[in-house]
Structures are given as C-alpha cells and as structure tokens.
C-alpha cells in the first residue's frame, strides 16, 4: 500500500491537468451536440459514435490531401450534418424507432469511415501542415485558448439559435410534438434539423480531437455517446448544486462543457491513480449510471412506498414531541 502511494507522483498529475482540460473543452463541443438531441429534442441519438469518428476521418484524410487544418473542420461539420440527416430520414420518413435509426447510421458509418481512411487509423501529417489544435506541450496554451474560444462561440450560437422562431419550434417538438403540430410546426422537419445540428457538432468535435491527438481512428467514437451523456448529466448536477434556482439556459449550455472538463479531469486523475486504461469505459458507464440514478433515488427517498413507515414514524415522533411540550 505504502509502495503504491509513494509511486504516485503529484507533479505528473499537475502536468497532465492541462491536457485533461483541453480534452474536456474538445469533448464539450461533442457534449453540446448530445445536449441538442438528447435534452432539447428528447431523442436518444446513437449516431454520434459514428459521426464522431466520421469527423475525425474526414479531417485527417483532407489534411493528408493538403487542405488546411481549419478548412477541414468545416468539412467535418458538414459531414456530421449529413449523417444526422440520414438518421432523421430513417426515423421520420421510414418510421424506424429513434434508437434503432441511430444505430443503423452508426454501424454504416463504421464501414464508411474505414473506406474513407483505407485502414483503421490514419495519422495527421505533422510535418506538412501545422495543426491549430495540438497536444504538443509547447503549443498547449494556444490549443487551450483556441478551444475555449471555439466553445464560447458555439455556446453563443446555440443559445441564439434555440431562441429563434426555428429553435423554439425545435424545443417545442422535443417537449410536446402533439402541441407542436397543432400549432403548425412540421415536427419531422424539426427533428431532422436538430439531428443534423447535433451530429454536426459531434463531427466537428471529432475533427478537432483528431488534430489534437494527431490521428483519426475508426474506433475513436466508440462509446462517445456515453461520454457525451456523462458530460451533460455531470454538468446538470453541478449546475443544480452551484447555481440552483437561478439556472438559465446559457448556464445550462456552459455547464455541459464544464461537465465534459470535469469528466476528463476525473479521467486524468483515475489514470494517475494507475487505474488500468482498459477499464475506463466500465468506469465511465458506472459514473453515468450513478449520476442518472441520483435524481431518481433522491425522489424515491421522499416519495416511496417502503419509506412510508419511516415517514409515519417520524411524524408520530414529531407530534409526540409537540404533545410533550404542550404538557
């Protein structure tokens, strides 16, 4: 035990922290995409595992062709829009249930990504093009600033968009599709737009991450839906705890990114504790399950059948106390 603790190096943790923040900021964009589909549209979109890798694959392959690293990110975003559109069409025009529609697109993107890259992974040509989002320690400050700026711009754009007539219609579609149709909103169109936007952001995030880590991998998106959900949910729990009632929409969006950063800081910390990297997905699943369960269990504590005896006993004790005081 003592040997284990003495093997932990605080300096290593300190050095790893900025990388964790950078990863969090990059995955935060992905989490915002998940926020749009999962929270705003109320659609459990499994496409993201595929569209995240797609963003990475597109970015790296175009960079290999000599396209500049910032232009490729727009193409990544566009590819994401397209993949979201396909899930939307499968769901709205062909009547395939939401989760299955997402899985179908996701699985087909696996083949598409392999075809795009020609093999399972492709490295960014570091020498030929200078990437903007780099994990190179020398430029990490620049990467952090740049990702932060990109995140702020994206939060601002989402905030604006969801406040417009179109955005309001998307929100209404997610909350109450019957009411939306009665008010003349084409709910199918709104679903497709939201899925496109969500996956566009996810693919953009994938593109940036591939620049950051220096390669794209066909499996880089695997399980990303869970990381996105983790960020959204951790962000919500933190926001609830820190801001409480004054929570407004721009805070919700910002806290999604805070959630992603928190997730990656925990990730870095757990790795620093010499947790095997192979177990990280298991750990993520446990964290997400725990955070999802907390609101439910909290509600159950105050509102359950089995708790009734306890609550009654409490009431009785309280009234006995009052009687005693009266006497």
């Amino acid at each position: 035990m003592a040997a284990y603790f003495s093997s932990l190096n605080p300096v290593a943790l300190w050095n790893a922290a900025p990388g964790g923040v950078a990863q969090g900021l990059i995955w935060g964009i992905m989490a915002l995409g998940v926020y749009i589909t999962f929270r705003v549209l109320n659609f459990a979109d499994m496409t993201v595992d595929g569209s995240f890798s797609l963003g990475g694959a597109v970015a790296v392959m175009l960079m290999l062709k000599g396209v500049s690293p910032h232009v490729v990110l727009f193409v990544s975003f566009g590819a994401g829009l397209l993949s979201g559109c396909i899930t939307g069409i499968l769901h709205t025009k062909l009547g395939i249930p939401d989760i299955l529609a997402g899985i179908l697109t996701q699985i087909s993107l696996y083949s598409i990504n392999l075809n795009l890259m020609g093999k399972a992974n492709q490295a960014v040509p570091v020498n030929s093009v200078r990437v903007f989002f780099t994990s190179n320690v020398r430029y990490l400050g620049q990467t952090l600033t740049l990702t932060l700026v990109v995140d702020v711009i994206i939060v601002a754009i989402i905030y604006w968009f969801l406040g417009t007539e179109l955005g309001s219609s998307i929100r209404a579609t997610g909350i109450n599709p019957n009411m939306s149709r009665a008010q003349g909103i084409d709910t199918n169109k709104m679903k497709i737009i939201a899925l496109m936007l969500g996956n566009g952001l996810v693919a953009l995030s994938g593109g940036i991450l591939s620049e950051y880590q220096g390669f794209a991998d066909v499996k880089m998106g695997q399980g990303s839906i869970v990381i996105g959900l983790a960020a959204v949910i951790i962000g919500e729990v933190l926001a609830e705890a820190l801001v409480g009632k004054r929570l407004n929409f721009i805070m919700r969006l910002s806290f999604t990114i805070v959630g992603a950063i928190t997730y990656y800081m925990v990730y870095v910390f757990v790795l620093w504790l010499k947790f095997p990297a192979d177990d990280m997905k298991l750990l993520t699943a446990i964290v997400v399950a725990a955070f999802l369960a907390v609101p439910y269990l909290k509600e159950k504590r105050t509102n359950s059948f089995s708790g009734l005896t306890r609550r009654n006993a409490k009431l009785e004790a309280a009234s006995a106390q009052v009687d005693k005081e009266d006497a």
């Binding site: 007539e165 179109l166 955005g167 309001s168 219609s169 009665a182 008010q183 003349g184 909103i185």
Partner: protein, 265 residues
C-alpha cells in the same frame, strides 16, 4: 365555413379489433355557428374532431374549410385553419417552455419559422396586455414555465393560444372534462366570451348534457359513428336534459345513457 362531407374511418381494418369509427358523417357549420357535440363513449365524437384536425388521413370523404379542401393536408399543414384545445391540459401547451414562448409559438401558426427572435419585447408587452383583459392572473407570470400552472390555467392558456391568431374553426375536444366543476365553468365562460368576441365558428365536444344545451346555438348528437340528431336555433334553446336523455334512448335503441352522462346531468 366548415363542411364535413361523407367521411369514413375504420381503425384496424380486417382485424379482430376492427372499429368502424366514422360511417359517412355529414356536418355543415355556418359562419359563426357554435355547435356542441354529445354522444356516448365510442360514438365517434373525438374521432370526428381528430379527422377534422388531420391527426390521421381519412378512408374517404372530404373536409372543406371556407371552400378549401383540407382533407389531403397533414396535421401541421392544416393547423393554420384550426385552433385546438384538448381534453388533457398538458396536451395543448409545452410545459417546459415559458408562457410567452408558448404564446409566441401560437402567434406564428401558419407562418414559416425563421431565424428571427422567437419572442420579441414588443410581443411580450402585447401578451401581457392581452392576458390582463382575461383576468387569469397570468399577466405577471409571462416568463414562468407553463408546467407550473394549474390545469385550469393551462387550459385557459391553450384556449388563448388557439384563438389569438384567429382560426377559421375552433375545435374544443372535451376541453373541460379534466377540470373540477368550478374551474370547468370558468373555462367555459372564457370560451363563450372569446367565441363571441371573435365571432368564431366552433365545434365543442362535451360529455356534459347541460353544457351542451347551455352553450352554443346548435347541438349534434352522435351515435355509432354518425350524426343521430341535429338541432339548432329556437328549438335548441327550449331543449332540456330530459329531452336529450329521451332522444338518446331513442337513437341507441333503448339502452340507457352511460353513467358518465347521467352523472354530469
């Protein structure tokens, strides 16, 4: 104004659950008619409403609004013609959105949803003034979530949303059935006021015979997916609950009115 011509709808055709819900219904509402619709469970009242609103396509038949055939349009496409209030107060509003946001969605019924701001300050002021005239205590709660309102308030808000952009026809599908009697009568009073002021052509389904008699200028009784009885003008004014019960026994061939109708006498 509203013309329902020979509409048919069968649910689950060819299966053991086959239900002939509408069997050649014909109704013509004149401009400004306020028509109440009663009938037992399964008579086709709500089905008829949903057919008009376009929740699903008809098997056959035509629905005309102001001479325009809307029966080929989907639900959202024909929404500009109709204002709708539903039985469940939660159905007509988006609970997780603010009152002003809900109203702004309704104000844009029939318009393209653009990238302009969803609710402008000017609109918000207009809504506040408008809500003031209705005296529901909602004018100071514009930015509150609709989910925080009571059932009656939500139903009143739905009614406002259905009528703030004047519809060709107002469809009320048992919109007071889920409310307590006191709230129900308040919402009905608001309905009368709004219908009268805006001279709205209205179709109101109800289970309550008394409400069906006391509101509107016309009454239709439905049975087995068809119109069994249609009365208007002076004759309707003289109608009593007893008359209706007799009529009901007559059309249903002796079987007595169901409990819910009796209870709501």
């Amino acid at each position: 104004m509203l013309e329902i011509r020979n509409i048919y709808k069968t649910f689950n055709p060819g299966t053991i659950n086959e239900k002939k819900a509408l069997c050649g219904v014909n109704i013509t509402l004149n401009d400004g008619d306020f028509c109440t619709v009663i009938g037992g469970n399964g008579a086709g009242k709500s089905t008829m409403m949903n057919a008009v609103a376009g929740v699903w396509p008809l098997d056959s038949g035509v629905i005309l609004v102001d001479g325009t055939d809307v029966s080929g349009l989907s639900e959202y496409q024909r929404a500009p013609f109709f204002g709708r209030v539903f039985q469940d107060p939660r159905t007509g509003t988006a609970g997780d959105m603010q009152i002003d946001e809900n109203m702004a969605l309704a104000a844009r019924r029939g318009q393209r949803r653009t990238l302009r701001w969803g609710v402008t300050k000017k609109e918000r002021d207009e809504y506040r003034e408008y809500l003031k005239t209705l005296d529901l205590g909602l004018e100071d709660r514009l930015t509150e979530k609709v989910g925080l309102l009571s059932g009656g308030q939500r139903q009143a808000l739905t009614l406002i949303m259905a009528t703030m952009k004047k519809p060709k026809v107002l469809l009320l599908d048992e919109h007071t059935a889920a409310l307590d009697p006191k709230t129900a009568s308040k919402v009905l009073a608001a309905t009368d006021k709004i219908v009268e002021e805006n001279h709205l052509t209205t179709l109101m389904v109800t289970h309550n015979m008394r409400d069906a008699i006391h509101h509107g200028n016309r009454l239709i009784m439905m049975n087995d997916g068809n119109v069994a009885f249609d009365i208007s003008g002076e004759a309707k004014k003289k109608l009593t609950v007893e008359d209706l019960l007799h009529k009901f026994e007559e059309v249903t061939g002796g079987t007595f009115a169901n409990d819910r109708m009796l209870l709501s006498k």
